[in-house]
Symmetry: C2
Subunit: 202 residues, 2 copies
DNA sequence: ACAGGAATTGAACACCGATCAATAAAATGC
DNA sequence: GCATTTTATTGATCGGTGTTCAATTCCTGT
């Protein structure tokens, strides 16, 4: 077959990314292969290489979408309450919810290694930092409430620490590496406990 | 070549596991392959399959050793102080140190997926729980010091939360997914901050 | 010394990501 | 409307992987 022009390059990329994401959700990174993606969108491998430089590129672009989606979920959660402490808890719940609903894609974001060379695309950092800013804002709003000795630590630093911690709890819970019961409810309790302890002194 | 009997099965496994660990340390999971391991220990692939059922089996056994080594490091750290708060900080420092020294092998422990079927071997859980017990013990020792209202949360629950949090900080720091500066010193500060906040109310 | 068994190999298989000449259809010029 | 150029698409191909297994070669017990 020669050229068909059924889809533009953008459409082809869209199809591929969509199907790739589905593939990952179904069977983890391991299930993601160029041939399988091509088959599912009705093309052959060669066509994918017109749009993606290689498999890593495809993965990075899927990850980028996942991060955008995650950021959206967290922003929606943050908008649901003006009360800082409650907002933090909503953020945690949203993060855990996302990790549990899109476990495979979420893991891929954090576990994929790109080969030796250069780092993730700059847009990654943008979204990551936006997430940190959501947490930092909540922490900043929470801090003045506790009068008295103001903390030496900036909300930005605190946000990084707190969110890394939340991330760790979600990751171990979701991957079952805790060796303990990992019910949805118990994990939420753990997160509440973490935030409680973390914010109990400003 | 026929049988040589240069090594017993155990020795062969030992050689393979040792070289596999080195391979991972050098180039991550990606660098670990049956053929390469075989080449390095002076055998061919076939021989490896006398000792390991497949690559996943090899990986799991490398991971098991890593976990044992990690547990040893943490136990040594815990033995270095009887003062609970200080002991917690030593445990954190030891964990971070291990993650930074053996980054690739450490990541493999948490990131490796074994295919669909059964979970990690039971010895895994044993060591994992031993680690949690170290943390729980320190927390238990720390709790009575703060008199007044005793916490409703058991030290075991607290240990799981705290250690998951510590794990998250170490992981994001070590993999550079934070998007912020990830110097050794700053990460240790983050861990101290986390433990501080976490234990400031018993 | 011999037979039986066990260790070791190397070729094979099926799959993967990646490349690229060949091809067929659309786009363009006339 | 026809010829030419351009471009999308294919499918065969390459080197690599994990895995299997018949064949080989040596050790071991008698």
């Amino acid at each position: 077959m020669g050229r068909r022009n059924l889809h533009t390059r953008e459409e082809l990329a869209e199809l591929a990314l969509h199907e790739a994401a589905k593939l990952v959700d179904e069977g983890g990174v391991q299930a993601l292969g160029m041939r399988e993606v091509a088959r599912r969108i009705g093309y052959t491998v060669g066509s994918l290489y017109m749009v993606f430089t290689n498999l890593d590129d495809l993965i990075v672009q899927v990850n980028e979408r996942t991060v955008v989606q995650l950021r959206g979920s967290l922003e929606a959660a943050a908008a649901r309450s003006r009360e800082p402490a409650r907002r933090l808890r909503l953020l945690c719940a949203a993060y855990l919810d996302f990790a549990q609903r899109h476990t495979q894609r979420w893991r891929m974001v954090f576990e994929h290694r790109l080969p030796a060379g250069q780092p993730a695309p700059p847009t990654y950092r943008g979204h990551t930092q936006a997430i940190f800013r959501l947490v930092a804002a909540a922490l900043r709003d929470a801090a003045p409430a506790r009068a008295g000795a103001p903390s030496r630590d900036t909300p930005e630093e605190l946000a990084v620490v707190l969110w890394s911690a939340v991330h760790g709890v979600c990751m171990l819970a979701v991957t079952g590496k805790l060796g303990v019961s990992d019910t949805r409810a118990s994990t939420r309790r753990m997160l509440d406990l973490l935030v409680d302890r973390f914010t109990s002194r400003g």
